[in-house]
């Protein structure tokens, strides 16, 4: 072996693949969709050919969920998911159609829909409309769109929370994301309640764009990059003012920490360590004794924790799990790591619906076996998928912590 060969390794490590096939064992798509070549074939194996001739690109790569479970399993550090996404971005000829654009612009759609929410929610639930979307747009008719809220989180925050934040010197910047803003402001409110009770003030960004995960998945790279640049500018401003930036969605965080540099080529090394999930942020403060959480003794729940794929990739489920364990009345079971099958906008597409449900089956069965009062998970699309598929209620760990919190006692313990 020449010395040159030894040091000549791509940033995505594809030369490091030892062909062990471990990745294929964990790919959720492989077992259910024979059209998908699997991570090894679609990733490092295919890359060798594509580097020679781009027409070796195979459109079936679009079935990849970008869940990164292959990367977590790979013993050789090959960034398989990145290789596949990059190939999809660089070589695919199909351009994103109306349906993909619509699904990709979670913020734009949300912005319009919240203004019209009673109408939109009604319309999206009408069977003829669902059928029409199915036939004309290819959005599967079995899907229920998450309901849009009549009042955005940011509106609530400005009216009811903003002023109160001035009382706190310790502060953190909250990246609420599209889901909290347009569909589920309650989660944002829960976070504000929790942080304020511990003496931490919440700032929002001046200009927050969608993290871009749906745009990347739908190959709207220019739009994703433009939004990412705005977010990075805002993150830098927050960090400069001494704040960390947190989110309640593991996918938004994974996207801003890892997909920005790996897929969009935007360097974030200067601020990357300050971007984290809310549970990691909280856990660190609790562990260092900087804040104290006091819980109601009568909050009694059996909870099953589901690790979202992107949380597994971040390696941070341990923070959510350890925080939930602090609640005295919680009996916690940690489920085996299995993909729920939705993967953001993927499962909404007609061509993916049946694979999506087949992938989720293992997880659904394992939840039913535990039969918990609540399923806890840090990802909103996992929540949709589980709630659409089986009769269990799903909550973000932050909402569970907020529910279980004894606010007065916590304020007292933190000298508020």
């Amino acid at each position: 072996m020449s010395i040159q060969q030894f040091s000549n390794i791509s940033s995505n490590n594809f030369e490091q693949c030892v062909k062990c096939t471990v990745c294929t064992v964990y790919c959720p798509v492989t077992a259910v969709n024979p059209l998908y070549p699997g991570p090894k074939q679609a990733g490092p194996d295919g890359e060798r050919y594509r580097l020679k001739r781009s027409d070796f690109y195979n459109e079936a790569l679009k079935y990849c969920l970008n869940c990164k479970r292959c990367e977590v399993a790979c013993p050789s550090g090959v960034r398989i998911g990145d290789i596949i996404q990059q190939a999809h971005m660089n070589y695919s000829h199909g351009s994103a159609g109306v349906r993909d654009r619509m699904l990709a612009h979670t913020d734009l759609m949300g912005g319009i829909a919240t203004r019209l929410s009673p109408t939109v929610n009604g319309i999206l639930r009408l069977t003829p409309v669902k059928l029409a979307m199915d036939l004309t747009l290819g959005i599967d008719r079995h899907r229920t769109f998450p309901a849009y809220t009549p009042r955005k989180f940011t509106t609530w925050f400005r009216r009811h929370a903003l002023k109160r934040q001035d009382r706190f010197t310790r502060r953190v910047t909250y990246f609420h994301g599209c889901y909290v803003n347009y569909n589920f402001p309650r989660l944002g409110k829960d976070l504000v309640k929790l942080l304020n009770a511990c003496g931490i003030g919440v700032d929002l960004m001046k200009d927050e764009k969608c993290c871009g995960v749906a745009r990347i998945a739908n190959r709207l790279i220019k739009q994703a990059t433009d939004a990412a640049k705005v977010n990075l500018r805002e993150i830098r401003a927050a960090v400069a003012s001494g704040n960390d930036v947190i989110a309640t969605s593991s996918t938004c965080i994974m996207t801003m920490r890892d997909e920005y540099p790996h897929l969009l080529g935007l360097d974030n090394a200067d601020v990357r360590d300050h971007i984290m999930t809310a549970t990691r942020y909280l856990y660190r403060l609790v562990e260092n004794g900087d804040i104290k959480l006091v819980f109601k003794p009568d909050y009694l729940r059996r909870i099953a924790y589901h690790t979202p794929c992107h949380m597994a990739k971040l390696g941070w489920s341990v923070y959510s799990i350890e925080l939930l364990k602090l609640i005295p009345g919680v009996e916690l079971s940690v489920l085996d790591v299995n993909c729920c099958g939705i993967a953001g906008t993927y499962g909404f597409k007609k061509e993916n619906y049946r694979y999506s449900q087949a992938i989720g089956k293992t997880l659904f069965d394992s939840i039913a076996q535990v039969n918990p009062d609540i399923v806890a998970t840090d990802c909103e699309t996992c929540k949709w998928q589980i709630e659409m598929s089986i009769p269990y209620r799903v909550s973000n760990p932050i909402s569970i912590l907020a529910d279980a919190l004894d606010v007065e006692a916590t304020r007292a313990a933190n000298n508020i």
Binding site: I3, V22, T24, V25, T30, G38, V72, G315
Partner: protein
């Protein structure tokens, strides 16, 4: 995050140590960079199969004939005899059912029809008292149509040599038709993910119809990726004994063993961090204070004690650069010649010197860093070096016993 013990490496070595500690109530974490070599398991754990090229019948007795550098000699025969009886019960508690004994090797069938010594073998597989006399007059070898990672022809040649009559069959069931459409993805583990109750019922019917005249059925190990439920179900539904034969990797029973051990460890309250890599450590004289990982940096992970179980070259526990053999995580001193020419022999079949390279450890298994012994780190498993697991058939024994030795009083 703080733990009593952090174990770096999540394969058989790390998991054994972790379970042993967690059972004693220690707060334990495993950090594992990807999945482990258990994914290539043959389905048997070997203790000692051969010394100086001669087959071993009684592993415990044969320990005396090993070189002094061999981890078994360093653990000592007496201590080995104290630890060995703990192994099978530990596996059983984790749900891994095995057959075998450390006094006398049993024998298992390889995918190519050879017979090899084994210590403990998963109950999926057949084992024999003797390498020559097999317990069958005739067997049916049943493959799944179009499955390329299983070789009934070799298997039957090997069995016929030992006087067993073989008939070869190929069958298929509708549940696998989907997979058959992709030649690269028709693998043992993928099939195992598809074969549910219903499919196993159909498969059992096929086996019953082909195997009427055989004493036993041998088929590729394609059942039971996350637990052994489907294996037990199939056996209950088939009228003849069914034994599995390992396939090309990835090994279904191997993945299951990994999952069962991991699940048991987590049930004991352990923390398993998969897909994370320790990038470096922070030392204070002769102690390792913290480790830093890709996922948790800039926050450190801290423990009173650390066990290094990162394996040998394959899993990057050791790395050969053009000029030196190094331990890449902490830069611990390695016991290997500086001269590259002494690392390997050109004859690919002969025992390769690099297989025996490992960390330089003291009598208590502590590594050295720039000559300073690190008192709160111990090493276990194949990173120890001093033996040739391939030639001697001692890989699993080394993994399990060196970690039990560190974690058992």
């Amino acid at each position: 995050m703080k733990f009593d013990t952090i174990i770096i490496g999540g394969g058989l070595t790390g998991l054994t140590a972790a379970i042993s500690l967690a059972e004693k109530g220690r707060k334990t974490a495993i950090i594992s960079a990807g999945q482990s070599a258990l994914h290539f398991s043959s389905g048997s754990f070997e203790l000692l199969g051969s010394v100086d090229g001669r087959p071993v019948e009684n592993p415990v007795e044969a320990i005396d004939n090993l070189s002094e550098r061999h981890p078994y000699r360093r653990i000592g025969k007496e201590r080995m005899l104290q630890l060995l009886p703990l192994v099978q019960p530990l596996l059983t508690r984790a749900g891994v059912a095995t057959t075998g004994s450390h006094y006398t090797n049993r024998y298992r069938l390889t995918p190519l029809g050879k017979v090899k010594p084994a210590w403990l073998t998963l109950d999926d597989f057949a084992t024999f008292d003797s390498p020559e006399r097999l317990p069958w007059r005739s067997v049916a070898l049943v493959n799944i149509a179009d499955f390329q990672d299983f070789y009934p022809v070799f298997l039957s040649a090997g069995l016929e040599k030992r006087g067993v009559k073989c008939s070869i069959h190929s069958t298929s069931i509708a549940a696998l038709d989907n997979l058959r459409r992709s030649s690269t993805e028709m693998r043992a583990a993928t099939m195992a993910r598809v074969l549910d109750y219903e499919a196993v019922g159909v498969l059992a019917g096929r086996l019953n119809s082909v195997a009427r005249h055989a004493d036993a059925i041998l088929m590729p190990a394609i059942l039971g990726l996350t637990d052994d439920l489907m294996v037990r179900l199939l056996r209950r539904l088939v009228c003849k004994p069914v034994y599995f034969v390992s396939t090309m990797p990835t090994s279904v029973p191997g993945v299951r063993t990994q999952m069962l051990l991991q699940r048991y460890f987590m049930k004991l309250g352990g923390t398993y961090m998969l897909g994370d890599t320790v990038t470096h450590g922070e030392f204070d004289g002769d102690r390792l204070r913290h480790v830093f990982t890709t996922n948790h940096s800039p926050e450190p992970l801290s423990a009173d004690n650390y066990i290094l179980a990162t394996g040998s070259f394959f899993s990057h526990g050791l790395v050969a650069t053009p000029s030196a053999i190094v331990e890449p995580t902490f830069g611990f001193d390695v016991d290997a010649p500086a001269d590259r020419a002494q690392w390997f022999r050109k004859d690919i079949d002969s025992a390769q010197p690099y297989m025996e390279f490992g960390i330089a450890t003291d009598a208590d298994w502590h590594p050295r860093r720039d000559g300073v012994t690190i008192g709160n780190v111990q090493c276990a498993g194949s990173i120890l070096g001093g033996c040739n697991p391939v030639k001697e058939g001692c890989g699993a024994g080394e993994a399990i016993l060196s970690s039990l030795n560190l974690t058992t009083v």
